[in-house]
């Protein structure tokens, strides 16, 4: 995988499951583009397989999924497994949305790099992604 230090960070953003709350992910997409990243937003109602295909096709460094429906403990394990099956473990997975504090360690144990909950400032999200990708390159 070509992750040269000069290439802009490539990030796939996706809504997985049936949840249609896309205000947050759209705002985040725009902020990351403004921060110089290449953002591919897949749109609504993605399955784990749809998302993994997008990550592969786009050769993404980072995958960000947004879940506000409470189904994260069903959807995220499926997604992590789908990434692993395609050998995409290196892709940093971040989760945004309504995630109760008690569930955050459970998601991190699955391999989620970071969970951003409501109130997370946009610059903080961009900074985390930049640091996390550069440490891996």
């Amino acid at each position: 995988m070509a992750t040269s230090a000069t290439r802009p960070i490539r990030i796939v953003l996706a809504k997985i499951g049936l949840d249609g709350h896309d205000r947050g992910i759209q705002v985040v997409a725009r902020a990351l583009r403004d921060a110089g990243m290449e953002v591919i937003y897949t749109g609504l109602w993605q399955t784990a397989d749809d998302v993994v295909r997008a990550v592969e096709d786009e050769d993404a460094d980072v995958l960000g999924v947004s879940i506000l429906s409470g189904a994260h403990l069903t959807l995220v394990p499926t997604l992590v497994e789908a990434l692993r099956r395609r050998g995409l473990d290196r892709v940093r997975l971040i989760v945004g949305g309504i995630i109760p504090d008690a569930d955050i360690p459970r998601l991190e144990a699955l391999g989620v790099a970071k969970v951003f909950t409501p109130g997370a400032p946009l610059p903080e999200i961009a900074e985390f992604i930049r640091a996390s990708v550069s440490s891996a390159r």
Binding site: G17, R23, G43, W45, G70, P118
Partner: protein
Amino acid sequence: MPDQGADAPRSPEQAAFERALASAPEREISLTTVSGRKVAPVYLPPDISDEYASQLGYPGQYPFTRGIHANLYRGRLWTMRQFAGFGTPGETNERFKFLLAKGQTGLSTAFDLPTLMGLDSDHANAGGEVGRLGVAIDAIDDFERLFAGIDLGSVSVSMTINAPAAIVLAFYLVTAERQGVGWDKLRGTLQNDILKEYHAQNEFVFPPRASVRLVIDTIEFCTREVPQFNPVSISGYHIREAGSTAAEELAFTLADGFHYVEQTQVRGLDIDAFAPRLSFFFNSHNDFLEEIAKFRAARRIWARHLRERYGAKDPRSWALRFHAQTSGVSLQAQQPEVNVVRVAYQALAAVLGGCQSLHTNSRDETLSLPTLEAVTIALRTQQVAAYETGVVNSVDPLGGSYQLEAWTDALEAEAEAIFAEIDRAGGMIAAVEGGYFRRRIAESAFRYQTEVDAKRKLIVGVNAFAEEEPSSIPLLEIDPAIETRQKANLASIKAQRDRAAVERALAEIRRAAAGTENIMPSLLAAARCQTTLGEIVIALADVLGRYRMGA
């Protein structure tokens, strides 16, 4: 403040006031509303129209700016209606009975995401979502259990569902049949506003034109058969939650309403036969005076358009009735107890704006569905507004405030400018398909978030006055076994029903959908023989198609 005219002579007092303003320092946060409206330091008589009779008039009279009833809450308070639903129909039925016992005066049903998206509980894409955000409904037996022991002839029921709304209406009507309640006795509201799904909420299935046809079918059917029921609740709530400004919420919602009126008129229905049963649903957000101005402007704009543009003659057609819900997106996960205070101010704005019914959010709703304790506080908040604050004892008590009247006028003018933009975009359907609404909403949402990140807008507990120690409140847990139980229930319904009757019902739905006749009779027949919601949606999609939006 408006320009008072170069020639207007300034009094010594005015000149002194303007000098004082010019030299007075102001705080460094943004002195604008949540929607970005510039706020003058003070509003004065020249800021408002002197056309009292045509702009305001008496409550209960055209243009209804001051309210839709002469005595408003002196006669009857608003309906206190808390949105509820989770788990299986049995669990929601218990919550309904709890709320009625606490003094709630109407029911409001939340459905789970699979139901909202037209999927049965056993669909592969429903995994993890069954019963989580609302109640799971698959077939008519579920609906009957949902309202078991609740007399549909005496309680008004609101149902928040859109893409499959016509199907849910059929389930509701058949449930009434089974209870022995005549359709003419049914009161309540079906949300059934598909246009805002494309603008903001994203729970659509069929393409826009076909979806609007289903909405008009329900309006037409209810006008004839269910005369006391509101077949559509034209909703700005979700548009606002998605990030629009107050003016955009107002204008997009009313434009949606105009589109339904026009499409129903095309069917040959007299406007005064159906317009009195159209109802609205607005957000009551943080910016107190701007929200009250928005509600007042909504009434005036609707009255003017219905009378002047669409030729309605019945005053009930002119009067805009609305439900309000406090703003979910304004609630914060940090220091959640503070949400009780936000909700109280927002509820007061809705009451001062003359709402007909109100849902107050619970303090824990940024994290989960509300616990019983949280929902009780939310309901009590409305009861304090109604019985203790005294604001209910006169109609539109803030009417005549220079600022409120100036903003009511401004919001009306801004809405008219947006209507003209929608026309220029080719009308409602072309504007939906071209992404006009979504672009504007996304732009406003981004602008607001940028203000928050820059701390030009402060949010208590988030970017100001944060606490080190996270506070924790108890949250409602949804038992994962609910999904298993609901799927077992569906399997038993499918095993016991008459499969041939279901196939005939689905064929009839396809036939009706392909033509121009009203879809409702075929949906009622399908409901009666236990056809599932998911099966009906598939049959409709076979004919009407499915809609995906460009990312």
